[in-house]
């Protein structure tokens, strides 16, 4: 029996998972319209490759990953692109983002695709294939998987497969493990091979006996060293860092890569999509979504990326008092700005919410420093202090108290007897700090450019003055030696220069704005005022310089 470790804190919210595990995963029917955002992953937005009116095939690349951290976007089915434009997407901001609208033709006509010999191909090629297949972490983080499959300079000991699925209501990974364990294990074998990891540890919470059994059976059939490890049910054991801590006892601090400690962690659904992408050349076109909450038939569906949420929820028969859809679970989920947004790669669960299911919180009272939050925090933070600093917008202090180690799991909010929306305070503080850092960088750039410009102007002035002085010197010398023949030659050169200067001066006069002769008195007044202001500004900048020459 393997020794398991505990992480600090954690909570035990009611799991509410049985509602959606009674029936197998059902394929969702083809919707009338797919709205596919180009930015479904961490990193840069994919660059659109299609235009309105283009016919596309199922699996066709429509969004090309742009440099660095990025991932590809594909047509989820065959049909016609009706528009490329801004549409509201599944994001807490409720803001629109660039999307492709695809009208399916019902043919499901695949683009030509084939698997690759990933065991013999170069690692970089395999990773490129994954990047172009749009494979990202399906646990919710949507980080491009190819970037995590570089073994790099650190030796990877353990590949951790995350099947903990600790958040209440969500069962998509549970059902996937029950039904497609063999494919997940094949994906794990590929990843283990790519990372050259010694072992594969598959962590599953003990409230999923069927999934555990299926995965154990599949893992036993593998030639690789794989172990399905049953972990106790506690939220947030499915957090990558928390799971790695449970399985290995090693803690990964914020800002540290897990590979430095010899570990890499993937969600089970990601393993499956890696397998599909490399074995069959199928890009990530669909995912399993749990539809649950205030519905009559909670169930898991295999849904095409881009399918509208309202059509999906309709399959589960929502109750009439539903007044909100939540993407994700009740702990970390975000409310959807509209029911028309589409399913994206990060959509693991849609909860139909009502005031009865999730009663609005009672009024928030001040913090009484009871430290229930600190006892529940899986990152060993002092949430009450962070709250205090975030509330008073004391961002420096918040950072000092490790705000960015917060994983926003919501355990603190869950236990808070004062019902303070703690997570929102942390999210607020984090985004303010990021914005301030961005502004600081912009200010530094502007200062650099401004100072460079000042020095350039200064340099120009100096060079001009030097030239002038030199010219006068040569003129003087020419006058003094006008009698000699060489001087005559010199003189002609001098004349040529003078002519050129004259010419330049004329040109300068001609280059004056052409339209200033026919100005209205108001415009003239405006120009005079501007001139006055500029003169004043100049005066203030160089009080001793006086009026410079025009």
């Amino acid at each position: 029996m393997r020794t398991l470790y505990q992480f600090h804190g954690g909570v035990h919210p009611p799991t509410n998972k049985t509602q959606s595990t009674r029936t197998p995963i059902a394929p969702a029917p083809l919707p009338g319209k797919l709205v596919i955002p180009f930015h479904q992953h961490v990193g840069n937005m994919a660059r659109p490759l299609v235009k309105a009116g283009n016919r596309v095939l199922k699996g066709q690349l429509i969004g090309m990953p742009e440099d660095g951290v990025s991932s590809a976007v594909h047509a989820s089915t065959s049909g016609t692109i009706s528009a490329i434009g801004m549409a509201v997407v599944a994001h807490a901001s409720g803001l629109p983002d660039l999307c492709a609208t695809l009208i399916p033709d019902g043919q499901e006509e695949w683009v030509t695709h084939e698997g690759m010999a990933y065991r013999t191909a170069a690692g970089a090629d395999v990773r490129l294939a994954l990047r172009l297949a749009g494979v990202v972490g399906l646990g919710g983080a949507v980080f491009p998987s190819d970037l995590k499959l570089r073994s790099g300079k650190h030796k990877i000991k353990s590949l951790v497969l995350n099947g903990a699925e600790c958040e209440p209501y969500i069962t998509c990974d549970d059902m996937l493990m029950r039904e497609r364990a063999a494919e997940i294990i094949r994906g794990a074998e590929i990843m283990r091979f790519m990372l050259d990891a010694e072992e594969v540890l598959i962590g599953i919470e003990d409230n999923k006996p069927e999934a555990i059994a299926a995965m154990q059976l599949a893992a036993a059939a593998s030639d690789d060293k794989m172990e399905v490890i049953v972990v106790p049910t506690i939220y947030p054991s499915g957090g990558a860092k928390q799971l790695m801590r449970i399985l290995t006892g090693i803690e990964i601090a914020a800002g540290v890569r897990s590979t430095e400690k010899g570990m890499q962690c993937f969600n089970v659904a990601t393993a499956l999509s890696i397998y599909r992408a490399l074995q069959f050349g199928e890009p990530l076109l669909s995912r399993i979504v749990t539809v649950t909450g205030n519905v009559r038939n909670a169930q898991n569906f295999e849904v095409l990326i881009g399918a509208p949420v309202n059509e999906l929820v309709a399959l589960a028969d929502p109750l009439p008092d539903t007044n909100l859809y939540i993407m994700g679970g009740p702990m970390m989920g975000v409310p959807l700005p509209s029911a028309q947004v589409s399913v994206v790669k990060a959509t693991n669960c849609i909860i139909a919410a009502s005031d009865k299911l999730f009663p609005p919180p009672p009024p928030a009272l001040p913090c009484i420093r009871c430290t229930r939050c600190a006892e529940a925090c899986p990152a060993d933070l002092q949430p009450q202090e962070l709250f205090w600093f975030a509330q008073s917008k004391n961002f420096g202090k918040a950072q000092e108290y490790s705000l960015f180690d917060c994983i926003e799991c919501g355990a603190c909010s869950y236990v808070c007897p004062s019902h303070i929306p703690l997570v929102q305070y942390y999210r607020f503080a984090k985004s303010e700090i990021r914005a301030l850092e961005h502004e600081q960088a912009a200010a530094d750039l502007a200062r650099e450019r401004y100072e460079f410009r000042q020095s350039r102007i200064e340099r120009d002035k100096q060079e001009k003055a030097e030239k002038l002085a030199q010219k006068e010197m040569t003129a003087l010398a020419a006058r003094q030696s006008a009698a000699t023949p060489e001087a005559a030659a010199d003189n002609s050169a001098q004349l040529r220069i003078q002519a050129a200067v004259e010419h330049a001066r004329e040109q300068a006069a001609a280059a004056r704005p052409k339209n200033i002769d026919t100005l209205t008195p108001r415009q003239q007044a405006e120009i005079a005022e501007i001139e006055a202001r500029r003169a004043k500004a100049r005066e203030m900048a160089h009080p001793d310089a006086g009026q410079p020459k025009e």
Binding site: H39, V89, H91, A92, S93, G94, L95, D97, T322, N323, L324, P335, P337, S338, A339, D355, P360, P361, P362, P363, A364, K393, P421, Q424, Y425, R427, F428, K430, S431, E432, A435, L436, E439, A442, A443, D444, L445, A446, R447, R449, Y450, F452, R453, A511, P513, K514, N515, I516, E526, I527, I530, R533, R534, A537, R538, M540, A541
Partner: protein
């Protein structure tokens, strides 16, 4: 008595020598306070404070000639930081300065005559273009100072407010009444 006097004078002499030596050895060029103030200012170089750039304003603040509340681009956060640095009270914006949303300049390329007046006005060289050539704004380095707007003889420069995008969106400060919160009506964007 005499010993004490000698000891005290000795200590005074030694310490004085150390102080004098370090004053020469560790002499700081320029005024570090100006640098500190300048570091807080947003470097928009807009001149809204009445000084021709951020550094002149910083110098004026350091000299006690200017108030700390004349920099709209720095926001109230900026005033607060200046107040902290200088050990004075925070005060709201004054002197006729108003805060505006962040914007970048935009040149209507159909109207531009290539007069270079705007490039001369731009404090951060964020306008590309030569004489009689069409000019264009290098948006990522434009600070939105508006100094190029006035000199343009054909009024082809306008300020475009930077709209919030998903990538620049910020989580809002939680605002709640001490009465039970009701959810916004379904389908509408949350407040």
């Amino acid at each position: 008595m005499l010993t004490a006097l000698i000891v005290m004078s000795g200590i005074a002499l030694v310490l004085g020598a150390v102080l004098g030596f370090s004053a020469i050895k560790f002499k700081v060029e320029g005024n570090p306070l100006v640098d500190k103030i300048d570091a807080i200012l947003p470097q928009i170089q807009c001149g809204q404070c009445g000084y021709p750039g951020c550094r002149p304003y910083a110098e004026a603040i350091a000299a006690g000639e200017a108030d700390i509340n004349r920099c709209p681009p720095g926001g109230e956060e900026g005033i607060r930081k200046l107040a902290d640095l200088l050990g004075v009270e925070f005060k709201p914006f004054g002197g006729g300065t108003v805060q505006k949303p962040k914007a970048v300049a935009f040149i209507d390329e159909n109207l531009c005559i290539g007069c270079t007046l705007c490039t001369q006005a731009c404090p951060v060289d964020a306008i590309a273009g030569a004489a009689k050539q069409m000019h264009t704004i290098i948006a990522p380095v434009c600070t939105g100072c508006e100094l190029c707007v006035a000199p343009c003889p054909v009024n082809c420069i306008s300020m475009v407010v930077i709209e919030e995008k998903i990538t620049t969106w910020k989580w809002k400060y939680p605002v709640y009444a001490l009465a039970p919160v009701r959810r916004s009506a379904f389908g509408r964007a949350p407040e």
